[in-house]
C-alpha cells in the first residue's frame, strides 16, 4: 500500500484497473485507492506482468502492506514474487531496495533530498506523488518547487463510494442503520477530536459594520467577474492581518511555536458528505480579484470531488462561513495545528446608534475568532480581530 499523502496510515482498494496476467507498463494506472484525503489512481512503478492481486477491492490495508505483485517479463506469472520488482513500494521511481529506509509501520521512505523534504513540508507538497528528476530518481528541490507552482498532480479523483448501510434489529430507537465512515470522514473525526482534546480554545466575537463593504461590492460587480464575495473580503482582510500578526499565522507544536513565512488561508467548504478545507496559497500577496477567482475554482473542485491533496494542504489559517444559512455567529473547531479559525456569520441590516446617538440601519456582520491559547493570548487575538474589522470597515485597502 503506497503512502499517497503525508498523513496516510492506511488505504482502501476501491477498484483494480488491471487483472492478474495483464502486462503493465510503468506509469500505467493499476488501481484506485481511497486515502484519508482523497481517492487516487495509483500507477505502476515498473514494467511487468501482474502475477498476483493480493488485496481485493474494498480491502483496507496499512501503508507498506503488499497489494499486488508484478513479475518480470511478459507472461511470467510463475516467477518468484520475492525476486520480482516490488509493486508495494510507494516510491515509483526507485525500484532498487538499496537506500530505502523502511519505517516502523512497514512503509518505505520516499527518496528525496533533505532540502526537498524540508520544502515539501513547508509548502504542503506530497513527496510520494512526485517524480524525482535527480540522480537515481531522487526528488530534489526543483521538483518540489515545480509541484508547488503547479499546485496539482497527475492523480485523478473519484467521488467516494457510499458504503452499503448495515441495519440492526429495531429497538426503542426503531431500526438503526450503520454507515461505515469514508476515509475522509475518518480523518475529519480524528482531527476534530484531537483539536478539542489538545487545544485550550477561547472565542472572541466582533461585530463589523459592513456598509462600506456592501457599497464596494456593488461597484466591483460592475467591473469584476466573479465579483468578490464578502467571504473573499474576509479572507483578504484576514491575510493582511495575518502578515502583521505572525503568531496567528503559526502553530503550537511539540513545545515550540512554529511561525510560517507564507500566508495560506484555508476556506471550509462542505463537500460530498464531508468537510474539505482547500487552501488559497499566499492570499496576502494576491489581489482581492485573484482571491475570489481561486476561491471559486477551489469550491467548484470540492463540489465535483476533484480537489487534489496539494490543494488541501499547507494551510496556515482557516476561514469558515455559515452566513449563507442565516447563522448570526458561531464557534468552530480549530483545524490543528493552526493557531486559530475565523468564522463568519450572516450579513444583516440592523438598527445601530451612530456617533450622534441616532438610530440608523447598517449592514452588520459577526466575526468570531477561535484561538488556541497555547500560542495566542487574549490580547493577541483581540488585536488581530480588531485589525480584520478595521480592514473590512475601510474596505478600499482590500482592493489595493
Amino acid at each position: 500500500m503506497p503512502r499517497l499523502s503525508d498523513s496516510m496510515e492506511e488505504g482502501t482498494i476501491l477498484k483494480w484497473l488491471v487483472s492478474e496476467g495483464d502486462d503493465v507498463k510503468r506509469g500505467q494506472p493499476i488501481a484506485e485507492i481511497e486515502t484519508d484525503k482523497a481517492n487516487m489512481t495509483y500507477e505502476a512503478d515498473t514494467d511487468g506482468t501482474v502475477s498476483e492481486l493480493v488485496a481485493s477491492e474494498g480491502d483496507t490495508l496499512a501503508v507498506g502492506d503488499v497489494i499486488a505483485r508484478i513479475g518480470e517479463g511478459s507472461g511470467d506469472t510463475g516467477s518468484d514474487p520475492q525476486e520480482a520488482p516490488r509493486q508495494e513500494e510507494p516510491e515509483p521511481q526507485e525500484p532498487e531496495p538499496q537506500g530505502s529506509d523502511p519505517s516502523s509501520n512497514g512503509g518505505e521512505r520516499v527518496k528525496a533530498s533533505p532540502v526537498a523534504r524540508r520544502m515539501a513540508g513547508e509548502m504542503g507538497v506530497e513527496l510520494a506523488q512526485l517524480e524525482g528528476s535527480g540522480p537515481g530518481g531522487r526528488i530534489v528541490k526543483a521538483d518540489v518547487e515545480a509541484a508547488a507552482h503547479d499546485g496539482g498532480t497527475k492523480q485523478k479523483e473519484r467521488p467516494a463510494k457510499a458504503a452499503e448501510p448495515e441495519r440492526a434489529e429495531a429497538g426503542a430507537k426503531g431500526e438503526v442503520e450503520f454507515h461505515e465512515l469514508t476515509r475522509l470522514q475518518q480523518t475529519v473525526t480524528r482531527r476534530m477530536a484531537e483539536s478539542k482534546a489538545t487545544a485550550p480554545d477561547f472565542q472572541l466575537v466582533a461585530e463589523v459594520d459592513m456598509s462600506a463593504a456592501v457599497q464596494l461590492r456593488e461597484r466591483l460587480k460592475e467591473v469584476a467577474d466573479p465579483a468578490p464575495s464578502f467571504n473573499d473580503m474576509v479572507v483578504k482582510a484576514a491575510s493582511i492581518a495575518l502578515r502583521e500578526h505572525r503568531r496567528v499565522n503559526g502553530a503550537y507544536r511539540d513545545g515550540k511555536f512554529e511561525l510560517y513565512s507564507r500566508v495560506n488561508v484555508g476556506i471550509a467548504v462542505a463537500g460530498q458528505d464531508a468537510l474539505v478545507v482547500p487552501t488559497i496559497f499566499d492570499a496576502d500577496t494576491k489581489s482581492l480579484g485573484q482571491v475570489a477567482k481561486d476561491a471559486r475554482a477551489l469550491i467548484e473542485k470540492v463540489r465535483e470531488g476533484k480537489v487534489t491533496p496539494p490543494e488541501v494542504s499547507g494551510g496556515t489559517f482557516t476561514v469558515s462561513n455559515l452566513g449563507m444559512y442565516g447563522i448570526d455567529s458561531f464557534s468552530a473547531v480549530i483545524n490543528p495545528p493552526q493557531a486559530a479559525i475565523l468564522t463568519v456569520g450572516a450579513l444583516k441590516k440592523k438598527p445601530v446608534a451612530d456617533e450622534r446617538g441616532r438610530i440608523v440601519a447598517r449592514d452588520m456582520m459577526n466575526l468570531t475568532l477561535v484561538c488556541d491559547h497555547r500560542i495566542l493570548y487574549g490580547a493577541d487575538g483581540a488585536d488581530f480581530l480588531a485589525r480584520v474589522r478595521e480592514l473590512l470597515e475601510s474596505p478600499l485597502s482590500l482592493a489595493l
Binding site: 533533505p114 524540508r118 540522480p135
Partner: protein, 327 residues
Amino acid sequence: MPTMRYREALNEALREEMQEDESVFVMGEDVGVFQGAFKVTKGLLEEFGEKRVRDTPISENTIVGMGVGAAMVGLRPVVELMTVNFSLLAMDQIVNHAAAVGYMFGGQVSCPMVIRMPGGAGHQLGPTHSHSFEAWYLHVPGLLVAVPSTPADAKGLLKAAIRDDNPVVFIEHETLYGQKGEVPENGGPARFGEAAIRREGDDVTVVGISRMAITAEKAAETLASEHEIEAEVIDPRTLRPLDLDTIVESVKKTNRAVIVEEGWPHGGVGANLAALIQEQAFDWLDAPVMRVTGADVPMPYSKPLEQASFPHEEHVVQAALSTFRDV
C-alpha cells in the same frame, strides 16, 4: 599591481618580516648557501647573515625542536622542511611540543613559529616526496594550517603566520612556485580564517584546497560554458581556523557541495568538511556532499600513473554534474 611568482611572493614576505622584526630568523636544509631547494630563501643569507639564515644538517626533528625552543624563549623562527613528507620525521616536535606547549604550561609560554613545507604531486618525485598531508596537521589542535594557492595569499598569509603567536604549519604547493599572480604592493598580512570566493555562482559550491582551488576554478568555467551550471568556487586559504560560515552560506544558496583536494580520501580534509557541511546545512542539501580526492594509493613515480592519482578539471566537472543527474 605588480605581478610576481609564488616563490618570489614568499621570499618577499620573509624579507619584509625579517627587516621589520629582528627576532625573525630562517632555519632549514639548504636555505642559506643554496638559497633553498625551491629558491624561496634567495638572497636572504647575503642580506641578513649566517645568524639569521641558518643551514642545518639533515635532521628534521632536531630542526623543528630547535625552532620550538627558540620560539619559547621569544624568537620567531621560520623553519623550512624540504617536503611535507620529510615533516613526518619531525612529527613528535610538531604535535607533541609545538602544538601542545602553550597548553601544557597554562599559557606561560607560547610557540610563535612557522614550519614551511611544500607538498603535492606532479614532478615525478615518487611516494617519499609528493604527498598531500594537509589532513594530518588539520587534525591537531594547537596548530594553525595555511594552504595558499596564489602568490598574493602566499605573501599575505606567510606574513600573518610569522606575526601569529601560535605555531603555524604553512603548506606550499610544489607545482605552484613558478605560478605568477598579482600581489598588492606594500600589502600587509592576510587574515587567517577568511575564505576567498574565487568565482560566484548559484548552482553548486565547489571548495578547492590548495592547488585544487585553481583546478576547481577551471572546472567551473567548463561547467558554465558546456553545462550551463554556475559553480561558486571557494578557496578556504586556511584550514585551521576554517571559514566554515562562508562555505555553509554558499551551500545554503546552491544546495550542493563538492570538495576537491589532492590528499587521500579516508580521513581527509574533504571528509571532515563534508561532515561539517551536513551537520550545519543538512536541510539545505539537494544532493550528497561529493568529494574529489587523490587516489587511495602511495603516489606513483610513473608519469601517467602520477597524473592519474590526483584530481584534474574533468573529475571536478563530473562530480559537480553528479549532484544534478546520473552521470
